[in-house]
Amino acid sequence: MMSFLDATRNGGLLVYRRLEQLFDKPFDAALNPWRHLGALGFLFFWIIAVSGVYLYIVLDTSASGAYRSIDWLTHQQWYLGGVLRSLHRYAADAFIVVTLLHVLREFLLGHYSGFCRFSWLTGVPLLWFMYISGIEGFWLNWDSLGQFSAVATTEWLDSLGIFATPMTRNFLGNAAVNDRLFSLLVFIHIGVPLLLLFGLWFHIQRISHAGVFPPRPLALGTFASLLILALAVPVVSQAPADLAVVPGPLPLDWFYLFPHPLMYATSPGSVWALVVTATLLLFLLPFLPRPRGYAAQPIAQVHPSDCNGCRRCFDDCPYAAITMIPHPNGRMQLAEVIPDLCASCGICAGSCPSATPFRSVSDLVTGIDMPQLPIGALRQALQDQLDTLQGDNRIVVFGCDQGARMDTLAGKNVATISLICTGMLPPSFIEYALRYGAAGVLLTGCRPDGCAFRLGSRWTEERLHGTREPHLRASVDRLRICIAWADRGEEKTLHNALEDFRNRIAAHDHALI
């Protein structure tokens, strides 16, 4: 079971990565929608919320008036109400699409167990909230589509046999649908999205600096596409609901309403079985044995004697796994790692001011460190590699275990050092390498919006640009540094980047002579 799951996941990941990289070309990695699926979900949520407020203001919440008031928007006020109505619907459709893809992506990346368990588990109920509010939204309009969905849904609910009075009886005849029922429907359609919003807040609790809004150009492009769609193909109502007849062929919204045809093609029981199994599987996934290759890693370790309480690791940890507590010496604060939340990424080690290779202590102990790859050992490895480099234009490549593989880069004049995450590298190591024999330093790792540990590549860039501590000193020659992000599978890109960089350095040095 486990190996089958692993194999499917890995196969799927390969295909997914291909697709993602394909989009990197036109969009650039930073704006690639595949890398911002959760953030796009938030964007669609806000579009739905804002357009929804307007619709609520003009909606006549009586059984007989709802259809008329929405139809009026569509035709008489097409330029505002009509557009907002279409945006409301299309954004809801897009919301489902990006969310399902978001779940797929997180699944393929194995982000469902360990330190991701909380995000995963809090995500599952959101799917229910989305479907409940979405499906029910179709009823408010009370056209034949809403009628079909309401009847199908209540038949499905009644199949459980738990309601004293069957829900279907609310939709038996036109007289049964009264204003009180309609007020209840409106209440649900507002209440459940509020629950969703609260759930979303919960969902990103354990993630620091969560990307809850897409980068502006992506947000604008996405909004513009929906707006053009809303103008070009406005959403219109079907005929008013009439419970005395079964609606003829209906233009179904398959994103939300697919369970209805499925139920009529099979049975209410099989749709229940499907829904319950899917929910249970999603809930149980985090408790299955961890995927192979994700064996538990030692977590970050704090050395109180070397921690000055600067809070940098606290700010940089992508998973909010660090808290600050009073230092035993009583004068300052001390970092403390929450074991359950720690992803063992090492990013905190890269942010600690004590993690500089220039310190003269022979046994380099830092404020916070990774037992499996301590900063002291890293300095030793760098020194050893620098000593063995031969030839001109010696280059040190710092990369990570998650991004493009570096084995093919090795050569007499290339040293490669793989970190847990590139964000683990204290910038002073670059200066150190350049001072002790390297002509250039190349940094690689996952592309910024695909970083396996979310923020490693981003923090690295900011530290090198001097906008985040610890920063790379201004005096270090920037011409001798190159950043070439490359995901797993982009080994060739990385290889070419290294060749390019080497040539540039050679030209640079030649000019100096």
Binding site: D28, P166, G173, W254
Partner: protein
């Protein structure tokens, strides 16, 4: 410092982006309303049999004798003892002379004292039909307690609701 990933935007990238956005919008628009779904095939009509009805008690209330009453604790001394259990409701529907549906709806509730519920969709060709509905809500009566037979014409797509009006004590066709 060289940043390999921040390459300048070529016009072709803009065009490709535009196309991908368009594809996205097209996908949303398409499955937001297509393919059409038809629940009921053309030329068919639907009969919905739906009611919630509480059957008669399975036994009459009995008068307790003074001796029986004396045995009960003071707060329980009700002179009438009424069994709570209700009869199941049996329903039969004949369509054009043949039995199309028969169901025994058990009373709800742990002590079987609640209403019996029936919901059933019967798909029929839109045409003239002779419909006979029988309902029995009392285990102690002989035969069916309520009957209704009618010949009616159903139009394509029409929904005929068969309900039971407990107040009037009659089966209704709406």
């Amino acid at each position: 410092m060289t940043m390999l990933s921040s390459k300048p935007f070529a016009w072709i990238a803009w065009v490709a982006q535009g196309l991908l956005y368009a594809l996205f919008a097209l996908g949303i628009a398409t499955f937001s309303s297509w393919p059409h779904y038809r629940q009921l095939p053309a030329g068919q009509a639907l009969i919905k049999l739906s009611f919630t009805h509480t059957g008669k008690r399975v036994a009459d209330c009995v008068q307790r004798t003074p001796a029986e009453l004396a045995k009960l604790s003071p707060n329980m001394r009700a002179p009438l003892q009424c069994p709570r259990e209700r009869s199941p409701v049996i329903v039969e529907v004949d369509l054009d002379g043949t039995l199309a549906y028969r169901h025994v709806a058990e009373p709800s509730g742990l002590s079987r004292d609640g209403a019996s519920t029936v919901y059933r969709r019967l798909q029929v060709p839109a045409d003239q039909h002779r419909l006979a509905v029988r309902l029995k809500d009392n285990t102690r009566s002989a035969g069916f307690d309520y009957n209704r037979t009618e010949t009616l014409t159903l139009k394509p797509g029409q929904i005929l609701v068969i309900d039971f009006d407990a107040e009037k004590g009659q089966i209704t066709f709406i």
